[in-house]
């Protein structure tokens, strides 16, 4: 549970360590856990790795590796890269100095639900490799089911309000039927792995107790399952402010809670779900500007993502057609060779063979280019996902503000009731004992509510701080990721274009005689 003890500090520090520590975490993290999901956390090194791999598809062309080839080779497969704080290329393997947290999700198995009786559910083997100190051990595994993931996700949402927490995979029911079950289970396994990797990549969450317990503590998940109705409704309709139905952060009395819940609900309805238009305007102008900019960014990103998809398709199509053209010429070559009655046919067959060879080569190059392009441009999709996480974090903030407002209005309502009652209670000589008793109760309630309000304010400030820190982290990571993405995309294009050019230049040279004859 995140350290929100009732210390009564006016300032909230999200972590024990100062801000700089997070940065150092970011820079020194090994990226062995960053194979696919490098969305919003962890290490970012992925540029300019001059590793050379012994078996590489380009060796088959028997061409000397060019600069571009050496550089973009590093984007093959899941090889990860590193960048140190000076942005200089480094080829370091995971060293014992940097810490790592690698998670894999494997071996889905169907198990009997002994509690529910008759039902079955799927468990997954979660294996962790780490050298982080809080884990006792470097390698361990256990089995978890999807429900546990939901619990983990909910707990994290409650404890880390204001953070850009990666969203867990959907609960979708479609596909659970037997016929599609295998595919569904495999998709879920991949999604779970991606999710856990994202969590492990987040500088704060990877150190969280919730995650540790999930990964390490055997047996039934000891994270308390909340009466979190919001979680159950999340995948369906509206996303209710999680805090409303969760564990009360404030120590208010029972009855008052329920009333407050409905008040907040009403206010929420008035201002729209997760809206930020309460009577008290969000005073942080900077925050509002930032929010709007992020919305613009989200739109632009969505657009780029769309166009990237059509670019990928166009690259695929041209590669295919080039291949078909090549094949057509292969057939023609064979035909002319077999049927050759004249030397001119033999010459033509030779020319066709060269063309077909280059066309087939070009086709293969397009295919490879595309595979790499997809990997690079996938960053865009990742960040679209991150934007959703950001929106959640902003919702946390606006909900916290809503809570404050609700409590404030409650306090003032109580205050006016007290004043009225006071006016009446002491009119009677000696005091109206029942009314005085009531007055005492009210005063107590108000004291408690006021306490709750103060705590809500602290919570709000805490979330605000988290937002701010996360925004900075996002900016930095996004910047690095996007530069890396652009660089990767560009280098990739250069490399393949160079290869295609040399393939075609061979043919152009060998057929140059025909051009001269024309003059």
């Amino acid at each position: 549970m995140m350290a929100y003890e009732n210390e009564g500090f006016e300032e909230a520090h999200p972590y024990a360590s100062p801000h700089e520590d997070m940065e150092s975490l970011v820079l020194h993290d090994d990226d062995t856990n960053n194979n696919l999901s490098k969305s919003n956390g962890g290490a970012h090194g992925r540029d300019d790795n001059q590793r050379h791999y012994p078996h590489n598809s380009f060796n088959s062309f028997l061409e000397p590796p060019s600069y571009a080839e050496a550089v973009f080779r590093s984007f093959d497969g899941d090889h990860t890269k590193q960048i140190n704080s000076h942005g200089v290329v480094s080829t370091s393997m995971p060293s014992t100095n940097s810490d790592y947290l690698k998670i894999s999700v494997t071996d889905p198995r169907e198990e009997e639900d002994l509690v529910a009786g008759g039902n079955t559910y799927v468990t997954y083997l979660i294996t962790t490799w780490t050298n982080l100190p809080e884990f006792n051990g470097t390698e361990f595994s256990l089995r978890r089911r999807f429900k546990d993931i939901v619990t983990l996700s909910d707990r994290l949402s409650e404890s880390y309000r204001g953070f850009f927490i990666p969203m867990r995979p959907d609960k979708s029911v479609v596909g659970k039927q037997v016929t599609q079950k295998q595919e569904f289970v495999e998709q879920r396994r991949m999604a779970l792995e991606k999710y856990l990797k994202k969590l492990a990549a987040h500088p704060v969450i990877r150190r969280s107790e919730e995650l540790r317990v999930f990964l390490q503590v055997q047996g039934k998940l000891p994270l308390m399952k909340t009466t979190n109705m919001a979680s159950r409704m999340v995948d369906g309709a509206v996303k209710l402010p999680k805090q409303l139905f969760g564990e009360p952060v404030e120590s208010a009395k029972g009855g008052g809670d329920l009333l407050r819940i409905f008040k907040e609900l009403r206010q929420s309805v008035t201002y729209g779900w997760g809206a930020t238009k309460p009577p008290l305007v969000e005073e942080d102008k900077e925050f509002m500007e930032k929010k709007m900019k992020l919305q613009e960014f989200e739109l632009a990103l969505g657009n780029v993502s769309l166009q990237a998809e059509s670019l990928v398709k166009a690259q695929q199509d041209i590669g295919e057609t080039m291949g078909q053209l090549g094949l057509a010429f292969v057939k023609l070559t064979q035909f002319e060779t077999n049927e050759a009655m004249f030397n001119s046919q033999k010459a033509r067959a030779r020319d066709m063979k060269n063309v077909s060879t280059s066309a087939v080569k070009a086709s293969r190059l397009y295919r490879e280019l595309n595979a790499q392009t997809i990997k690079h441009l996938d960053k865009l999709h990742d960040y679209l996902g991150v934007m959703l996480d950001v929106n959640n974090a902003y919702s946390d903030r606006s909900n916290a503000l809503l809570t404050i407002q609700t409590l404030v209005s409650e306090v003032s309502a109580l205050n006016s009731r007290i004043e009225k009652l006071e006016a009446v209670a002491f009119k009677v000589f000696g005091g109206d004992s029942s009314r005085i008793q009531k007055l005492e109760e009210l005063k107590e309630t108000m004291r408690v509510t006021n306490e709750a309000k103060n705590q809500a304010v602290r919570e709000y400030e805490y979330i605000k701080e988290n937002n701010k820190i996360e925004l900075e982290r996002l900016d930095k990571e996004r910047r690095e990721d996007f530069i890396g993405m652009m660089k990767g995309f560009v280098v990739n294009q250069v490399g393949y274009a160079e290869k295609m050019s040399s393939a075609w230049e061979i043919v152009a040279n060998e057929t140059s005689g025909y051009a001269e004859r024309c003059r």
């Binding site: 300019d48 571009a68 960048i83 000076h86 942005g87 613009e296 960014f297 632009a300 990103l301 657009n303 780029v304 769309l306 166009q307 990237a308 059509s310 670019l311 166009a314 690259q315 199509d317 041209i318 057609t321 080039m322 078909q324 053209l325 057509a328 010429f329 035909f335 049927e339 009655m341 004249f342 001119s344 010459a347 033509r348 020319d351 066709m352 063309v355 280059s358 070009a362 910047r479 996007f482 530069i483 652009m486 660089k487 560009v490 280098v491 250069v494 274009a497 160079e498 295609m500 050019s501 075609w504 230049e505 043919v507 152009a508 057929t511 005689g513 025909y514 051009a515 004859r517 024309c518």
Partner: protein, 406 residues
């Protein structure tokens, strides 16, 4: 526009004895300046045909006439009729799609094809002497129109139609159905091989051309998506601001620039690779027409041969009976014999010409395709280099960004 040379080392032909020191004979033609004429349904394209020559029968040194597509068709039909055995250069098809007919691209493709057509005729050692060619290149528009309308109807049949007849005639099924006897065919194995070759070649070429055309489209599509992608990236750059935003903007700009390169390459590919392939297909189809003509000539020869034999029998019968019909019969017999000889001569000319033509054709196609392949490869290499250069220019900037971001 190619200057004609005597590709055939036989005969002095047009070398004028009056001017032994004059330059060798040449006939140089070009088809240029397409212009839209008329309106609505009647609209058509007219072309300027420029002839530069020192041929004695021609109005030299230069003559310009205006011709339209149907004039070219007339010329092709005349040549097809009069020069049996020779592979008449192919013409571009009539456009069936109304909208496309007047697009700049279509007009340019057609102009190029018509130019090729006339040039090939002018280059051909036999065809270049054709009277019809001279009419086509020199006559004024009224004469041309008269000539055109005179011959329409007779030569409306395209070589493709003749081919259809040829094919039907070869089909056993139709023979059985129609109760026809199997018609006479050559049994020359080499010729059989040639016929098979031509038919299969057409199929192979048609497939290659289909993919070539698709490749042109793919270039256009890739260009379009690069343009859209570039624009989108630029917008993203505007959101980012500062150095990163600038980098995005530049990336977007490069992408848009490459889009233009791709469109250009698509056009180049169309005109210099796809069209020559299409031209090759048409040429093969034209040969099929010649094959049909040869079959006709062979059949005629056979039929006449049969008729002559029968006539001889008749004649002998009449000779025996000393009938008054005998003289007439003898007359007819002599005529038939002359026709028979004529038919044989015609057939043998076709065979001889075809043998020469096939060599010429193969040489020509190797040259034509060699050039087309060269242009294709050159274009692709140029495009790839352009792409590499454009993206490469961004790398130093991105490197600088990486260094500054930490």
């Amino acid at each position: 526009m190619i200057t004609t040379q005597r590709s055939h080392t036989g005969g002095g032909g047009l070398q004028s004895p009056r001017s032994p020191s004059s330059q060798p004979p040449f006939l140089s033609v070009s088809v240029t300046d397409p212009a839209k004429m008329g309106n609505g349904v009647q609209a058509y394209i007219s072309y300027k045909v420029i002839t530069k020559t020192n041929f004695p029968d021609y109005q030299g040194p230069e003559k310009i006439v205006i011709r339209r597509y149907t004039d070219f068709v007339w010329l092709r039909d005349c040549l097809f009729k009069k020069y049996k055995g020779i592979f008449i250069p192919p013409l571009p098809e009539k456009s069936t799609v109304e909208k496309f007919r007047f697009s700049a691209e279509f007009i340019e493709m057609r102009r190029q094809a018509l130019d090729s057509f006339v040039n090939r005729i002018a280059l051909h050692h036999e065809l270049q002497h054709s009277e019809d060619l001279r009419t086509f290149l020199q006559a004024d528009e009224q004469t041309m129109e008269r000539a055109r309308s005179q011959d329409t109807g007779i030569f409306k049949r395209k070589p493709a139609d003749l081919m259809q007849i040829f094919r039907d005639v070869q089909s056993k099924v139709s023979d059985v159905v129609l109760g026809k006897e199997k018609p006479v065919e050559e049994t020359n194995p080499e010729y059989e091989k040639l016929k098979r070759y031509i038919f299969e070649l057409e199929d192979h070429l048609a497939e290659a051309q289909k993919h070539a055309y698709r490749l042109v489209k793919r270039h256009r599509e890739l260009g379009q998506s690069l343009s859209d992608f570039g624009k989108a990236i630029k917008l993203l750059g505007a959101c980012e601001g500062d150095a990163l935003g600038t980098a995005f903007s530049e990336l977007g700009a490069k992408s848009e620039m490459l889009s233009i390169k791709l469109q250009r390459e698509a056009h180049h590919l169309l005109m210099n690779f796809e069209e020559p392939l299409k031209d090759y297909v048409r040429a093969v189809q034209s040969i099929k027409g010649t094959i049909g003509e040869r079959a006709n000539a062979f059949r005629q020869q056979c039929e006449l041969s049969e008729t002559i034999k029968l006539k001889e029998i008749d004649l002998n019968k009449l000779r025996l009976t000393r009938s008054e019909k005998m003289l007439d019969a003898e007359h007819e017999y002599e005529e038939l014999k002359a026709d028979g000889e004529e038919a044989t001569r015609r057939f043998e000319t076709i065979v001889k010409l075809m043998n020469e033509e096939i060599i010429r054709f193969q040489d020509e196609k190797t040259q034509d395709m060699g050039l087309a392949f060269h242009e294709f490869a050159k274009g692709q290499a140029r495009l790839a280099n352009g792409i590499a250069d454009a993206w490469r220019s961004l790398i130093p900037k991105l490197d600088a960004l990486t260094l500054s971001s930490s």
